[in-house]
């Protein structure tokens, strides 16, 4: 038996949470399920750039145009989730001057606003840049936070009655002949299983969409493509920095909160879960980045991580990696595979998540006989309510997080890890990477949520372990020293390694 919904959405990334908000605004009853926490997939493991469209203008004008539109909309409706930094495109001596002309023309065509600024003026504003900058342009790039974006979309939907369940994995489909009639679910923590019924399922599982397709018995050609990103302990530049050349590896710097994210790479992988960065990836990126910022290798790296792009190939003839389209695809499996009650939306970019959600929701609404229009571009997202407060006692000093913020971030959560809290608040994301605040947050939550000693220890150890994963590929310079302090605190001072906490890895 089980509950009944109009629509079940699989995947709690930007796309899935965008869809649940859209459909809830149209009055449909929805359930979104996410196997981990919101935005733990690619939407939390990306570069954090709200594209202006400039990067894709030459090769992918359609995609670029979508970025232009969505960039404007998101600056209106998701202002709390982004920082409108603006961005530069810079060309170096070695870059092809012909490409600059082509690029400028392409930007004009798709409607990306560009404004030239002289290299000397640029160097005055961003003195760390290479002296050999030949041309520079300002574009409306911005920094976007995937975690709070997904959370705000989900909250907007919940306020309209939708259900959002994290740590809930789809393990199978209910079918009647050629129609999907529901899903089988499993709680990722307790292992408990149950089922729900619905009229339609939307597969928004990103790089995992192929696996979901397989469960439903349809073939979806997703090519997971891994990209590595590295994080520096400060804001290297005030604005986003792009290299003015055909898109390649290691050519974008995005300032984020107190840090900078630089990347990325592009490599085919088989496993959407493959998010480990390696030392080699990091060295390769540094070698590229040094061309734009000569002192890059002297700067303090704090972690490296990877995400997997959900590139979609309709046929084998299309390109892979950087050649594959960044456009998204909406797949109606009734038309494609004769399977009713199932649609997929794949590919794309975080910047265009709302548009993807709109397209998927339009199709869903039409199938379900709902004629309400999409309104998601008009109404601001719900406010998460965990903004900075006046309390100057900061549990996380790097990111200035008070107890009050931590209290709000955990509201209504039965099962949570410090990583879940980190995604909502930036706890432990700053220069010290949790060296101090992990212990503090565990001690704080232990008391607030009446946890047992073991649960408190688990909270603590799990987060120390998670931060360690990111530090491993960048164990040199200041970070090597920081890790030693970290070990001093957690092993010598606290003797945590000998304290029982069940499994934490």
């Amino acid at each position: 038996m089980g509950d009944n919904y109009d629509v079940v959405i699989i995947g709690g990334g930007a796309t899935g949470t965008g869809i649940v908000r859209d459909l809830a605004m149209r009055g449909l009853s929805c359930l979104l399920v996410e196997k981990e926490d919101l935005a733990t997939g690619t939407s939390g493991r990306f570069h954090g750039l709200l594209h202006s469209g400039a990067r894709y203008a030459v090769r992918d004008p359609h995609s670029a145009q979508e970025c232009v539109q969505e960039n404007r909309i998101l600056k209106e409706i998701a202002a709390n989730c982004l920082e409108d930094t603006g961005g530069y495109f810079i060309a170096l001596k070695e870059d092809d001057p012909e490409y600059i002309r082509v690029w400028l023309e392409a930007c004009r065509q798709v409607g990306v606003a560009t404004e030239e600024i002289s290299p000397s003026e640029l160097l005055k504003q961003e003195p760390v840049l290479h002296k050999d900058v030949t041309k520079a342009y300002l574009v409306p790039d911005a920094a976007v936070d995937g975690f709070t974006l997904a959370a705000a979309n989900a909250l907007s939907a919940e306020k309209l009655g939708a259900k959002v369940k994290n740590y809930t994995r789809v393990v199978g489909f209910k079918r009647e002949g050629q129609r999907i009639t529901g899903v089988f679910l499993r709680n990722a923590i307790t292992g408990q299983e149950w089922e729900v019924n619905c009229r339609l399922v939307i597969n928004a599982a990103g790089a995992w969409a192929g696996q979901i397709g397989e469960l439903a018995g349809v073939n979806l050609n997703i090519i997971p493509d891994k990209g590595v990103l590295i994080v520096f302990n400060h804001r290297i530049t005030g604005k986003v920095l792009n290299r003015l050349r055909p898109p390649g590896d290691g050519d974008i710097f995005v300032p984020h909160g107190s840090v900078t994210i630089f990347g990325t790479t592009s490599r085919a992988t088989h496993d959407p879960q493959d998010n480990q960065a390696t030392r080699e990836d990091v060295l390769q990126l540094l070698a590229e980045g040094r061309k734009m910022i000569p002192d890059l290798e002297e700067m303090r790296l704090i972690r490296a991580f990877a995400g997997v792009r959900p590139l979609y190939q309709a046929s084998d003839q299309e390109g892979t990696g950087r050649q594959a389209t960044r456009d998204f695809s909406l797949l109606d499996h009734e038309k494609l595979d004769g399977l009713n009650g199932f649609i997929s939306v794949v590919g794309g970019k975080l910047t265009t998540y709302r548009l993807m959600a709109q397209a998927a929701s339009d199709l869903a609404a039409q199938k379900l006989g709902n004629d309400k229009p999409c309104l998601t571009h008009l109404e601001p997202l719900a406010n998460l309510g965990i903004e900075r407060d006046k309390d100057k006692k900061h549990l996380c000093q790097c990111e200035m997080i008070s107890k009050g913020m931590l209290e709000k971030a955990v509201k209504g959560k039965e099962q949570f890890s410090l990583s879940d809290i980190r995604r909502l608040t930036r706890l432990g994301m700053g220069p010290c990477q949790g060296t101090f605040c992990t212990y503090r947050a565990a001690g704080f939550y232990h008391e607030l949520k009446n946890l047992t000693a073991q649960e408190g220890n688990k909270l603590l150890k799990e987060h120390v372990q998670e931060r360690w994963k990111g530090a491993r590929p960048v164990l040199w310079g200041g970070q090597a020293q920081e890790i030693e302090i970290n070990r001093g605190i957690y092993l010598s001072l606290l003797n945590l390694d000998r304290l029982d906490s069940g499994d934490y890895v």
Binding site: L395, F436, G443, E447, W468, W476, I485
Partner: protein, 422 residues
């Protein structure tokens, strides 16, 4: 011209200076910053767990030390041997007594103390004032301060209760928050609080808040905040006012207990005629063959000053203390340009892996005379003796031996350098 120049003012460097001064040598300590004692606890852990995959604190430390000579001959303790360990510990106890900040305990027997997470952890020497037997207290009150975010009494109490319970001991363990009303503006760390408690009025407030919660049988466990220089006064007053026992435990840096140790030791050394030049890095060395003939110190004006001695102690703290620099291409000791063997893999996937982390184990290879050696075991330098976290062969964090190795190898390096400077 000095007899001995010690580079580094951590526990290893300070012990080296003390050992050389004890031989009546003219000693200079040069350091770019404060040592790790300002972050680490002031407890001296000799060897808590060995082999490192054991979960229970080591009972028979002497036997473990003998095993170590066979299984891990590169371990600083194995290189130096039991006799040097004995001498170094005796020496430390003696000079701390003279310095007016006595320690008690022995390296041969682990004592069990609570950590700020409420784990029961082994250690060897503790400041005299913290010397007590947990087993003799049935009633414990764990206390935290609202203005301080670095200690969580309820969390520590829960773990303590659980730990004692597992050992079949039932104790009454409670927790409480106090609010001294000190700062609403920003969080205070243990140093701020320790300074505040040197003020009698603040101490009085603490006593008033505690009075209703304790009896004379209560052991009050609190973060180490009971005064910096006036520690004897602060704790003495409180114990008099409340007639109960206090146990300070080290929490997140800065470390008040470590600070007391470092500062009493430095004061003592100054009285013994040891000179200090603090705040400036040693940037290089002059060498004739395998002999160091001088070190270069960068002064405030950017000028380079050369200082000379017969022998040198290199106690610059390894990766942790800044003496070893890790770059993507390799690890180097920066003063003598000693190349450290690069490990294939610098890390284990599991942060808490019982075998430790290669990164933490990395350091300078030395012989039994603490001289840095090359790949074939040949000494690279004859009058330079390395000590402390600079040495390879041990991960202090899993085996709980950081200050112990610093103490023993520091002392030994000071003696060797002093004797070499006859």
């Amino acid at each position: 011209m000095y007899d001995v120049i010690v580079m580094g003012a951590g526990l290893a460097g300070l012990m080296a200076a003390a050992a050389a001064a004890e031989l009546n040598k003219k000693v200079l300590v040069v350091a770019k910053g404060r040592g790790n004692l300002y972050s680490a606890s002031g407890y001296i852990d000799f060897l808590g767990y060995y082999p490192t995959d054991c979960r229970q604190p080591l009972e028979n430390v002497v036997e473990a030390l003998e095993d170590m000579v066979n299984d891990n001959p590169q371990h600083p303790y194995a290189l130096l041997g039991k006799e040097k360990v004995d001498q170094a510990f005796d020496f430390f106890l003696k000079i701390m007594n003279r310095a007016g900040y006595s320690y008690s305990g022995s390296w041969k027997k682990n004592r069990i103390y609570p950590t700020a997470a409420g784990a029961l952890a082994p250690t060897s020497l503790v400041p005299q004032r913290s010397c007590l037997d947990l087993a003799s207290y049935q009633e414990i009150l764990v206390v935290g301060f609202r203005e301080m975010l670095d200690f969580y009494p309820f969390y520590a109490a829960d773990n303590l209760r659980e730990q004692f319970y597992q050992q079949g001991e039932k104790k009454l363990i409670r927790a409480a928050w106090l609010d001294l009303g000190l700062s609403k503006e920003r969080e205070l760390n243990s140093y701020d609080l320790a300074v505040a408690l040197e003020d009698e009025a603040v101490r009085f407030r603490l006593a008033e808040q505690l009075r209703v919660k304790v009896s004379e049988n209560t052991l009050v466990i609190l973060p180490a905040v009971l005064g910096i220089r006036k520690w004897a006064r602060v704790q003495g007053d409180l114990e008099r006012m409340l007639a109960c026992t206090f146990l300070e435990i080290p929490t997140l840096p800065p470390s008040v207990t470590g600070m007391r140790l470092a500062e009493s030791l430095m004061e003592y050394l100054e009285q013994r005629g040891v000179e200090f030049q603090l705040g400036y890095p040693v940037t290089g060395a002059l060498q004739e063959g395998k002999k160091c003939t001088g070190i270069k110190i960068e002064t405030a004006s950017g000028r380079v000053q050369v200082k000379r001695a017969q022998s040198y102690v290199l106690a610059t703290g390894g990766i942790l203390g800044g003496g070893l620099k890790v770059k993507p291409g390799g690890i180097t000791e920066e003063i003598f340009q000693i190349k450290i063997e690069m490990l294939q893999e610098m890390s284990n996937q599991d942060f808490f892996a019982p075998q430790g982390q290669p990164l933490s184990r990395t350091g300078i290879r030395v012989n039994g005379l603490l001289q840095p050696v090359g790949a074939q075991g040949e000494p690279l330098l004859t009058n330079v003796f390395a000590a402390g976290k600079n040495l390879t062969g041990y991960d202090p964090f899993v085996e709980k031996s950081g200050n112990g190795v610093a103490l023993v190898s520091g002392c030994a390096a000071g003696w060797l350098a002093g004797k070499g400077a006859l």
